[in-house]
Amino acid sequence: MQHARAGVRAHAVHVLAGHRARPLPALVLVLALVAGGFAVWAGQDWYRAAHDDRAAYAVQRDEALAAGEQAVQNLNTLDHQDLNRGLDLWESSTTGELREQLVSGRADFAEQVKKAKTVTSARVLSGAVTELDDRAGRARVLIALRVTVKASGGAKTEKDSRMLGELTRAGGQWRLSALGQAPVGGAPAG
């Protein structure tokens, strides 16, 4: 009798326990599933963002511009008292045909600057990338530049110039492969 009552009570408790215990795990389960789903979605989203082609392209664009501005400034900076360092910098900022020209004309040019005793410095006012071929590693930039030339007598002249540069990527580095003034009054282009 006692035993049976205890059994019934225990059974009732268990049924109760079964009923009361189930909703909680279900809730936890759902929560875990939702959390898992969220984690998977967020992970994929992150992966997409991290492997976005446009992001890599944007980084190349910014690197090309920074390198282009620096290189154009370098090539418009030269102190007759520190020619070798200046001209070394010119060569390290350039590549391809432009570099070949600079190397082959270096001696003559150094002679001229030594005679003229000029100190040239430049400041980039603004720059923009107009074309970028990420795969080929080629870019074109516009640079607005203010060049200051100090003659041997100490007289300073300032000149604004607008440059068109072409950059080529070599060994992960963007370097100038062509540089010229944007023509004034010429045929329309780009």
């Binding site: 795990p25 992001a55 923009a128 516009l142």
Partner: protein, 227 residues
Amino acid sequence: MTPMLTRLLRGDGAPEAGTGEDSGTGEVSGVGANAEGGTGTDIRTGTGIGTEPDTGTRRPPGGRLRRAAAAGVAAALLLGGGGFFYGAHELRSAEPVRNRALTDTEATTRVAGDVDNALARIFSYTPDGTAAAERSARTVLDGRAARQYRDLFGQVRDDLTEQGVTLSTRAVRTGVIELDGDRARLLVFLDQTSRRGKGDATTAAAQLSVTARFDDDRWRIVDIKAR
């Protein structure tokens, strides 16, 4: 994740199977089976079922542990997901990525074209007057650029007409420096050809930094700085 969840399911299933047998001993053995995977607390629970069924004995002890583990996993997943979510947001809002210059070819061409046109129209006039240029300016300029333009033309309008000056402006090269949402910064190289009366035309170069804002389905210039 899946094995954890299935184990949770099985853990819940086991005591119910015990209930199905509908006897006191079956009961105990059911709890005992649970206890194998559980901890020391189940001993207290086991006696509880026999004597004091009402308090704290309702949950199968292993279940509590599993629930705690599941909650832990859920929390970890939420945290991990949140980490990825934040990481993705950081990547997308990084400076180079926000700037759509060149990465969005269509938008880049659009803003460059609109700005080129605007500059050509507002800086081109004939001796007959500057009315057309000023009318254009009202539609393509805004903000500081509009004020500067009004001030400038207020000063030179009469002289220009008197001296019979013709000016034509053309954008030679345009580069989009930054394009972020409805704002853009550009560098524009201009050629300005002017002629005074019957004199010879002279062409001058100008470099402008232009700030533009996309408004009402068109790009308007809000700031111009000569470089």
